[in-house]
């Protein structure tokens, strides 16, 4: 078990300078999710037009993995239609299971190492679960 497999430079970069951190003044779909086993929480905001996620922001408290994953997800999902966004979430689940998956937004692939740290998978998926929930509430 090598720590560097988990904490890749690109992950720490997203953790230390998260993309899309914050909230929209109005008009967004908001999803609040907790990870009740550890106290992490995320508030995800999606701007939606005609079955498309046009923009996304998040705020919350959590470990490097959960915050970096949310940061990447909000970047990757911008401009995606609902079906594409859900497919992306599906691919992320596959990545967590250790399957070789490629992403158009390549940073996400850095999270493949999480698979070797089973206790941390729930951290990585928190933001993605919020995305699913947000889209399903609007479908």
């Amino acid at each position: 078990m090598e720590l560097d497999d988990l904490y890749r430079r690109v992950i720490m970069d997203h953790y230390k300078t998260p993309r899309n951190k914050g909230a929209f003044p109005e008009g967004a779909v908001t999803v609040e999710l907790n990870n009740p086993t550890c106290g992490d929480r995320i508030s995800l905001q999606l701007m939606i037009e005609n079955d498309m996620v046009t923009n996304a922001k998040f705020s919350g408290e959590g470990c490097s993995i959960s915050m970096a994953s949310a940061s990447m997800m909000t970047d990757a999902v911008k401009g995606k239609k609902f079906d594409e966004a859900l497919e992306l979430a599906q691919s992320f689940s596959a990545l967590m299971k250790g399957e070789p998956v490629e992403f158009e937004y390549e940073d996400i692939e850095a999270l493949s190492g999480v698979n070797k740290f089973p206790a941390r998978i729930k951290c990585a998926t928190l933001g993605w679960n919020a995305l699913r929930k947000g889209i399903e509430s609007r479908k």
Binding site: M1, D4, G39, G62, C63
Partner: protein
């Protein structure tokens, strides 16, 4: 016996985790088990296993003797007046729920008060919220000092003649603070209230005398004191237990059963419906023998010394914050390390074989009071050595280093 010799008696501690010798610092979550306990459970299954209180055959008698023998051991261990005052439960959570559901729901009325503290574990919080909802009673909280301790003058203020129940943790699983429960019991009784002590974290570390504390109920978990998981106990004063109704019904707990009416066995069996937790109770009995052979006073001294040592070493680490009072604590240290998230601390520590807990420790209201979303916790027991603490300190420096520079 010193900690290094005691370590030898715990098979699980002799293994490598991620290529490093295991350092187990999560005993407040669950303690490890000595060979004597593992053997006692194995012996029971290999030689005596049978159902209790019914078989006329020899194995049935042996199993009954072993199970009731374990009850006697628990009773003596906490100085109950009689083994009839010891109910075997699944653990502290079930014991508290039994008192809340059976006792508190029947005595609390609208306008009555139930007094707690903000440092309670969810298991000593939610059962009382449910009692309050069902009966119209009000929950009141004894405020905490800045370091997390309790002032008796605040207790005097919060407990009133309307208080029916006080339920409080003896040793906090987050702050490590040892609460002045004997004095709180005295105040509660002066107002005619009953008091329950959550002994999940105190029983493993110190000598418990329920008669001296004069608590009405005391709850403990076997698995935190070298016993198996799935067994614990409720102590209750006999007069109270006698007036309480069972909350589970079925086999074992009955006296006479008719088509429309039934009656219950006497104490303690009326609270133990179904086939009881026989093998694990036997294991808990063996754990008590084990602890008593070393001596609870010795264990308290060792755990205090190792905790003091850890407080001293950890507080030298820059950016490390320790929660709870630095004095008067038992067996654990909860901390944060700069802006490194506790999950990340726990993962780095695990990579060098050190097991700690990260999260909210089933104390979400206390986390909010501390203004953190989660914390890291290292907890100690009779098998931990100063070397374990030195490894922890070294690994914490590595964590700091890693999160400021080392990502490759």
């Amino acid at each position: 016996m010193n900690a290094s010799q005691i370590r030898e008696l715990f098979p699980i501690l002799h293994q490598e985790v991620n290529g490093h010798p295991l350092v187990y610092l999560d005993s407040a979550a669950t303690s490890q088990k000595p060979r004597a306990v593992i053997e006692a459970v194995k012996q029971y299954y290999e030689k005596d296993n049978s159902n209790v209180h019914r078989g006329v055959h020899t194995l049935g008698s042996r199993a009954t003797e072993a199970y009731e023998g374990a009850r006697e051991k628990v009773g003596k261990f906490i100085n109950a007046n009689s083994p009839q005052e010891i109910i075997f439960t699944r653990g502290t959570t079930t014991a508290i729920n039994l008192v809340a559901t059976s006792y508190a729901r029947s005595v609390c009325r609208e306008g009555d008060e139930i007094v707690l503290t903000p440092m309670e574990h969810h298991s000593n919080l939610i059962p009382w919220q449910q009692v309050a909802k069902a009966t119209g009673a009000t929950l009141k909280y004894i405020p905490l000092q800045e370091d997390g301790s309790i002032l008796l003058e605040d207790v005097e203020h919060v407990i009133t003649d309307r208080t029916k129940m006080v339920s409080i943790v003896y040793v906090s699983n987050v702050l490590g603070v040892i609460n002045p429960v004997k004095q709180i019991a005295e105040i509660a009784h002066r107002h005619g209230a009953k008091i329950l002590l959550d002994g999940a974290q105190s029983t493993p570390h110190m000598k418990i005398d329920v008669q001296d504390l004069d608590c009405d109920f005391y709850c403990l978990s076997g698995h935190k004191m070298c016993g198996p998981t799935g067994v614990g106990a409720l102590y209750g004063k006999k007069a109270l237990l006698e007036q309480m109704e069972p909350i589970e019904y079925g086999g074992e707990m009955i006296d006479h059963v008719d088509l429309y009416e039934s009656t219950w066995k006497e104490l303690p069996w009326k609270f133990e419906a179904g086939t009881p937790i026989i093998a694990n109770a036997v294991g808990l009995g063996a754990a008590i023998d084990f602890l008593e052979e070393i001596g609870m006073d010795e264990i308290f001294k060792h755990d205090k010394a190792i905790t003091d040592y850890a407080v001293d070493r950890l507080s030298r680490i820059e950016d490390l914050t320790i929660f709870g009072p630095l004095q008067n604590r038992a067996g654990l240290i909860t901390f944060t390390l700069g802006d490194v998230h506790p999950h990340d601390i726990a993962t780095v520590l695990d990579s060098v074989g050190i097991a700690i807990r990260a999260g909210h420790h089933c104390c979400q209201p206390l986390m909010r009071w501390l203004k953190v979303s989660s914390t890291a916790r290292a907890s100690f027991y009779l098998y931990n050595t100063e070397e374990d603490i030195d490894r922890l300190v070294k690994a914490l420096y590595k964590t700091k280093e890693y999160f400021s520079h080392g990502i490759g």
